[in-house]
Structures are given as C-alpha cells and as structure tokens.
C-alpha cells in the first residue's frame, strides 16, 4: 500500500502554485524535450504508454490523437472536458484544486502533438470555486510565458525543433449533465443549447466550428506530462498492462473514509473499499456497488471478490470502469429507492432529441416509482427490463445506455428485490443513511488526498 505511485496528486504541499510546481520540475526539462521531438513522436510516446481516457469510455488516448488531420491548413482545437457531472464522480475537482498546472502542461503537450493552437477548458458552472483556481493557474502560466504567444521565446527550440505556442481559455458551464458528452460540449461552447450531435462526422473530422477537434478528460491530460517524463514504456508497466497507470478513485456512500484515492489500475475493488476507504460503517455487509459512476452496471456484494478496477477486468466482471466513481451501499440499503433516484436523474437530464431516450427514461422512472410506492405488479419487473433494453443502441448519444444500464442490470442481478416488492403489504425502507453516525463520533473525512490543508 505504501508504494503506490502518486502521479497525479503527489504529496507536495502547495503544488498548485506555479513556483512550487516549477521547483518540482514542472514546465521544465520534459516540456523542452517535447518541443524538440516531432509531433508524431510525442503521440507515439503516448501510444506506447497505453494511456486510456479517464472520462468514461477508456478509449486509447494516443490513438485518438492520431485521428487528427496533420498539417496546418485548418484551425484545430483541443476541448478539455472538466464537466464532471456524473453522480458519484468528484475526481477532476481534486486536480483543479491540488495540481492544475500538471493538467495545463498536459494540455500544452497534447496541443503540440496535434499542432493545435487553441485549447478550451470547459468546467461545470457549479464548480465556480474551482474554476477560479484554474483561471488563476492559467493566468500564472501566461504571466510566466509558459502558455500563450511568449512560449515561442520561453521554449526556444534548439536544432530542428518547432517554435510553438498555444492559447488556453477557461469556459464556465451553466448546469447540464448532457454537456459532458463530447459533441454536446461542442454545441454548448459554440453558444447553443448543449445538444449532442449525430456521429459521424466524428470530432476529429468536424468538431468545434466544423474544425478538427480532440476532446479529452482532465485526468487523461494530467497523465500526459508524467508519460513524457518517464517514457511511455515505463508508464505502461504501472498497474494493469491493458489499462496502465494510476486512477483517481472517488469512493462515496457507505464507507468510513469517503474520498479520492489515487491507486494503480488493477487494484481490487475490495482493497479500495476496505483498506483505503476504511471499510463499511458498523462492519456491515455490502449489498451493492456501482463501480464507475451512476451510469455503470451495479455489482452485487457477493460478486466483488477478486474484482479488479480497470477497464478490461471490470468488463469481465460484468460492469465498466466509467469515471472510477465507486458508490458503496451496505446491506440495509433500499436498492429500489436508489435506482429510482438514478432514473429520476436521467429522466431529468435527457435532452429530449431521441424518442427512445426521452420517453424511455420517463417510463423507467414511472415504473420504478410504482415499485417504490408499493404499487407495482409482477409484470412490471419484465417491463422494466424490456424498456431499459430497448433504449440501448437506439439513441444519438450514450446517455441512453447510461440511463438503461443501471436499471437493466439491477433487475438482472437483484430480481428477488423486485419480486419481494410486488408482494402486498410490504414495508418500504429508507436508503439507510449513515449521516446520523457522525454524531456518534465518526470523523468526517472529506476529500482524502494527502496534502489537504483545511481550515
């Protein structure tokens, strides 16, 4: 446990200040080296590292970058996804707060690799506090000449290096989960309602203002300076070979120490819950875990033994890594209440463009409310499953799946819970709060990163 590498949130107090960041090697050797490499060589290094996106789909980052057209005929953009609105996800926030410059350095490297001259960091509006921190960091970077037009002097290339500069603009969202979806984010940034667009064309062909655009998650980009520093090969040996590196796991719900833990991929789910997040209050059993944010297939407590947290292993276990937001529910949890709340969220957030999603999410919610209130019929169990199943694959964007998966897999994995509910005269419980525990002396651990200085 002691030796897990801290690549994204290292234990360095005050790292968010540019001086401290530079003292620890930031905007230094690595970046100078990058600017002497060819853009393709930089992309190749990222390919070699095996880095996969941290925004939900775990798509290989180097491969994504290589889809961008070469040459400078057309303006190209980098869109940095800091929307982080998936319930159970609160990891990118830690980067904004504790290590924003590493993210910025990642943006510089990514932009260079794709020869992009403008990057937009889109951050959800609710994060005003953290937006300010990022704006401050970007402003510091401009003042030091490590971002913006002065880069060309700061990093004057020797030999056949390329003089290069990129601008960064921080953009504040205004409250809409769907805007986290890549094409919706582009619509939103352009000043439209945040509606997803039909793909193809993919962003690399036609993104922001119909120009080639790459979109990456905050954590994905924060990994990039580490890769260029240690080399793709060395990075690829951390964690699980098919999904290397560390992940920021956000653990919430029924654990003693909820918070964000940076651990190598392939760490077992039970280790994260029990060793790192302090186990379940009162030593209770785990009933259900959603391992990657509310849109991923839930796992039964009995299914957790040996489950490793990375894209491939989690897929084999019947779920998906998503954002690595682990939601833990103990044995007393009313799963139907939880699922109803999840469905309420997706029904609320559906943008309404596709009929299966617009109607389906509302329908799921209605059926679940029947269960919640004890008015459901036996047939409703299969109906629920069918409605969910029929949304999947029939929509413009993946919000359809996000809404359907938790429902379909909960019905498949917890059928007995639904069967019990359709019996008459059943008592309806609460989702079992541990809130009251605090009064009994439980220390509230907020965000569990090493260098938290709280007041």
């Amino acid at each position: 446990m002691a030796d897990s590498p801290k690549l994204i949130l290292p234990d360095v107090p005050g790292l968010r200040n540019i001086e401290t960041y530079m003292q620890h090697g930031g905007y230094g050797e690595t970046l100078r080296k990058v600017f002497t490499m060819s853009p393709t060589a930089v992309t190749d290094e990222v390919k070699k590292s095996g880095l996969r996106g941290r925004g939900g789909a775990a798509f290989p980052t180097g491969l994504k970058w290589s889809f961008m057209p070469k040459g400078n005929e057309k303006k190209k953009y980098l869109l940095v996804n800091g929307d982080e609105s998936e319930p159970g996800s609160f990891k990118d926030r830690q980067i904004f707060e504790f290590n924003p410059h590493q993210m910025i350095e990642g943006i510089l490297i990514a932009s260079y690799a794709m020869q992009i001259d403008h990057a937009y960091i889109y951050i959800r509006g609710e994060y005003e506090h953290w937006i300010k921190m990022v704006r401050q960091a970007v402003a510091e970077a401009y003042d030091r000449g490590v971002v913006g037009p002065r880069m060309k002097d700061t990093f004057k290339p020797s030999g056949d290096g390329i003089a290069y500069s990129v601008d960064i603009t921080v953009h504040k969202g205004a409250g809409a989960y769907i805007v986290g979806e890549e094409t919706a984010m582009m619509s939103s940034l352009e000043g439209d309602r945040g509606y997803p667009r039909v793909k193809p064309p993919f962003p690399a062909a036609s993104g922001l203002w119909h120009s080639p655009t790459t979109i990456n998650n905050i954590e994905t980009l924060a990994n990039v300076p580490v890769i260029l520093k240690m080399g793709g090969d060395a990075y690829s040996k951390i964690g699980d070979p098919k999904h290397p590196g560390t992940l920021l796991f956000g653990v919430s719900g029924h654990v003693n120490k909820p918070g964000v833990y940076e651990l190598p991929t392939g760490t077992t789910l039970l280790d994260i819950i029990n060793k790192h997040a302090g186990g379940v209050p009162g030593g209770k059993k785990i009933k259900m875990v959603i391992p990657g944010g509310s849109s991923m297939p839930p796992l039964r407590g009995e299914q957790l033994e040996g489950v490793k947290m990375d894209a491939e292993n989690l897929k084999a276990a019947g779920s998906a890594i998503g954002t690595g937001g682990i939601m833990v529910m103990d044995e007393d949890t009313d799963i139907i209440k939880v699922l109803t709340r999840i469905s309420k969220f997706y029904a609320h957030e559906s943008c309404g463009q596709c009929t299966p999603c617009r109607e389906g999410t509302g329908w799921l919610l209605k059926i679940l409310q029947r269960f919640e209130q004890g008015n459901a019929r036996e047939e409703d169990i299969d109906l629920l499953h069918d409605v969910a199943f029929n949304i999947e694959g029939r929509t413009i964007c993946a919000l359809g799946e996000a809404a359907a998966w938790p429902v379909r897999f909960t019905v498949e994995r917890f059928r007995e819970v639904f069967e019990q509910r359709v019996k008459p005269g059943l008592k309806i419980g609460s989702p079992n709060r541990v809130h009251a525990l605090r009064k009994g002396g439980l220390e509230p651990v907020q965000i569990h990163v090493p260098m938290v200085e709280r007041v």
Binding site: H129, D143, K172, Y177, L189, P258, V260, A436, Q446
Partner: protein, 179 residues
C-alpha cells in the same frame, strides 16, 4: 438596454476574439448578466442577443436549457441541496427536507424577504463530502441538519454566509484570473 458599460462591452469584444465567433460568448455574457441582476429578464436576453449576434429566441432557448440560469428572481442566497445517490446514502434527502421546512418554501421557491431560494439539485461533485448543501458558490460538505440550520440562521442574521468547515482554500486571485 444598457446593462453593460462601454468598457464591459469592450471586454466582450476582446473575449470574442478568443472564440472566433461572437455567439460562443453567450454563456459568459449570460453569466455576467446574472451576476449583475440576479436573474435574466427579457430585456437582458435582448441585450445578450445583440452582443452575441444571435436571435433573441436563441437566447431564450439557451437560458431555459441550463439549470443554473434563472428566468425569474431568486433569493440573494440560492440554497442547493443534493439528493442524488451518494448524498442520499448519507442523508441527503433528510437534509433537503430539513432545509425545506426551515425555509418554509418548496423547490424553486423563494422566501418572502427575498433572502433565500431553494433547489433540490443533482450531483454537484461533492459526493465524497456527502451530504452537501451549497449557498450560491459556497459548498458545505459533510453537513448535519443542525449545522445546516446554523448556516441558514447565520446567513439570515449577518447578510453573508459563514465560512464552511471544510473548504478548498482559494489562492489570492490576480486580475488576470478572469482572462
């Protein structure tokens, strides 16, 4: 008309250069309007439309799309309580109901004195600090119902909201931070 001074309009022109298209500054412009006025009324939408060179109907659609833009006056302190899963598992619903009763208003309502408005919100990215409540931009995490009452009472009394117990410390902001 005339929500913005000439200098502010000039700032928007500068900002538009960073985006290439005036329409892309609609969100920043709407945010500035809401900061100044507390909500976005019809006249303001017209002004935003003129600045961003889009039809007013477009602005209306955008204001309606995003939950953080208000198309009616809200309280000076907009109270938000999350009841999504991570918060729910740690008492978010109880917290919401408690705050609702304390304020004596329903979801999207406003107290008569105009100090508070209330919203039951979706996940705010504070799941590790659940249950949470926010007053405008300030997050209160790991709050009990008693603490929530204290925060509301203190805000009502002093006209400013108290500092949260667990807080991300903001560095000194330089002028350039708004770039």
């Amino acid at each position: 008309m005339a929500i913005f001074s000439n200098e502010e309009l000039q700032e928007f022109t500068e900002l538009q250069k960073r985006y290439g298209k005036p329409a892309a500054t609609l969100l920043p412009v709407l945010w500035r309007i809401q900061e100044k006025r507390g909500w976005i009324d019809s006249d303001a939408m017209e002004e935003a439309a003129a600045i961003c060179q889009v039809p007013k109907s477009h602005v209306e659609g955008v204001v309606q799309f995003y939950t953080m833009f208000f198309d009616k006056p809200m309280g000076r302190f907009h109270v938000q309580v999350c009841t999504n899963v991570s918060c729910m598992l740690r008492g978010g619903e109880e917290l919401y109901n408690h705050v609702r009763q304390q304020l004596g208003i329903e979801n999207h309502g406003r107290t008569e004195n105009g100090i508070f408005s209330l919203e039951e919100v979706e996940c705010m990215g504070a799941c590790g600090g659940a249950p949470m409540m926010a007053l405008n931009d300030t997050f209160y995490e790991c709050v009990t119902t008693e603490e929530a009452s204290k925060v509301l009472a203190e805000t009502q009394r002093a006209g400013v909201n108290p500092k949260p117990k667990f807080v991300a410390q903001l560095p000194e902001l330089s002028e350039a931070a708004n770039r």
